[in-house]
Symmetry: C2
Subunit: 320 residues, 2 copies
């Protein structure tokens, strides 16, 4: 396509470079999430035919919006390539290791999802209500994918901290709850109101995840639909285990990869015996209280406040 670039050298190469810059900034901006796993693949380039078409159809007079649209189209294309490589278990693309080859199936699936979501975020540049919503949902979707990446990176690592676990839950679960509250509130809430609604959503999201993680240890299986210890078998270290390791030295050092289903159930019993499950449940209830308190600093009408309070209680009751 050099001939096209040459024929429009007064403006097209500059615009294409701007697209590359946005793609590169995106890789940098997502830290380890994209930088490590996808950086090389994204940097490897490709023909960039689709973004070039966007810019050509937009013409030399088009503004920043055309560059964003071009970036978005390329991101969708990249997302499908990353997912295709997962399905094909492809080792190389454009002569470089694929994301799935570098980081595994789970991470590559998440990277694809992240690229999809970022594509839509590119398109929402102004402040109309709908674009505000697109931005919120895209940001939450990126968070989900980043949380998934973090979880797979932490897999089988017994020594991860409670803070690290909570940060992962914030991304993987709480972000979408937060988004649900903010995307619902109209007109777009400002400053303190926004923060209070976000706190409400995030805290019930975290409570939800904490109770879910307790359930994986406590069972019973007929209730959850899966055997106890499914997280352990997955290599997912959750708060009950993190806290139990401080109380029971026998949990301090064992190989998560060596567990079979029976051994995983036995670890669950040892976690439960330390009494940490009640501590985690209390933490979850605490968060539900904080969520409800946050509602007091909103200007929501009485009805909405009552209903959101009931909804917060519902999260805990589900597990009572």
């Amino acid at each position: 396509m050099t001939v096209v670039l040459d024929a429009a050298e007064a403006w097209l190469p500059r615009r294409m470079a701007a697209v590359e810059q946005r793609l590169a900034a995106l890789v940098d901006g997502h830290g380890r999430g994209l930088g490590d796993e996808a950086g090389a693949t994204l940097a490897a380039g490709g023909k960039r035919l689709r973004p070039m078409l966007v810019l050509l159809c937009a013409g030399p007079g088009a503004g920043e919006g055309a560059v964003r649209a071009a970036t978005a189209v390329e991101l969708v294309h990249m997302a499908t390539l990353v997912h295709d490589d997962v399905l094909d278990a492809a080792p190389l693309r454009r002569g470089r290791p694929t994301v799935v080859a570098r980081a595994g199936r789970a991470a590559a699936t998440a990277v694809g999802d992240l690229l999809f979501s970022r594509a839509f975020a590119e398109l929402a540049a102004s402040n109309s209500a709908a674009e505000h919503r697109v931005r919120l949902l895209a940001a939450a979707s990126v968070g989900l994918a980043e949380g998934e990446l973090a979880q797979r990176r932490d897999a089988f690592r017994l020594e991860i901290s409670a803070e690290r676990y909570l940060e992962r839950c914030r991304l993987k679960t709480a972000r979408l709850f937060e988004c649900a509250c903010l995307i619902g509130a109209e007109p777009e809430p400002g400053g303190g109101e926004r923060e209070a609604l976000a706190t409400y959503g995030a805290q019930i999201g975290l409570a939800f995840q904490l109770l879910d993680d307790v359930l994986d240890v406590a069972g019973p299986a007929e209730r959850t639909g899966k055997a106890r210890g499914a997280d352990l078998l997955d290599g997912t270290v959750t708060l009950p285990l993190i806290l139990a390791r401080e109380r029971d030295p026998s949990l301090a050092g064992f190989d998560l990869r060596a567990l079979d289903p029976a051994a995983a159930e036995a670890v669950c019993d040892r976690i439960a015996a330390t009494g940490v499950l009640e501590q985690v449940r209390a933490d979850a209830r605490d968060r539900v209280e904080r969520a409800k308190q946050a509602l007091d600093s909103t200007s929501l009408d009485e009805q909405r406040r009552v209903l959101l309070t009931l909804a917060a209680d519902g999260v805990v009751e589900r597990y009572a």
Copy 2:
């Protein structure tokens, strides 16, 4: 959450029902793509906690936008569940077979992508330029996922028709090229202009795919980076084989699943020997001509027309 529904029975159950309706319409609206593979899973429901939060924060006075936002948030949640089930190879969710269990990894990955894209389409309801772009990109992304689904459904079926193959290419490849052209053109082109640009994009997209499929048969491997016959080994039946089967009876009935890499190369040789590769290349060049002709019925300025003509030629030259 019944207590919340009861407490707001004057409006909330109706809104939640509207969200269910939109989710159901979406399943129906995508025919076999979602209906067969994901219908049961989507219909199986779940707590619908996230959409409820959207509606609660929006309050009783909110309009259609809140229902759309609630639907969008649930779609993102569903997309992540479908992808999680792929990674976990989970047989059941909510007591029903998962998408991956019913349709396989590839289809389930595509269904997840489709749900992501549909989520963003839900949010773009008005006619602002940015929302127009979100709609275009979401529709193209949905097309990509549907094309992927169609391809996996057609896998290993020697008897698929050329029409079916082209329809698949339209979804899988041409849609994003078409989107690239329309998303670039501003202000939003009307009627004939829009159609001409869409034709341009779609035809060069199809030409691109046809030439790619020729390359998989013709090689050489050092040029494409993969062995000849990779499509055959994948079970992907492309136009060269479809046409060759009409000319060489030995290609009419053989088992694609039984091919090893050496046998796949031998099939490539037999396809090439029928002379269909030149026919497919001619078809691709024809489409590039049609793309260029379509530019004549646009009101694009001379510069853009010249550049787009060069870009169209570039698609063919890449393979020359």
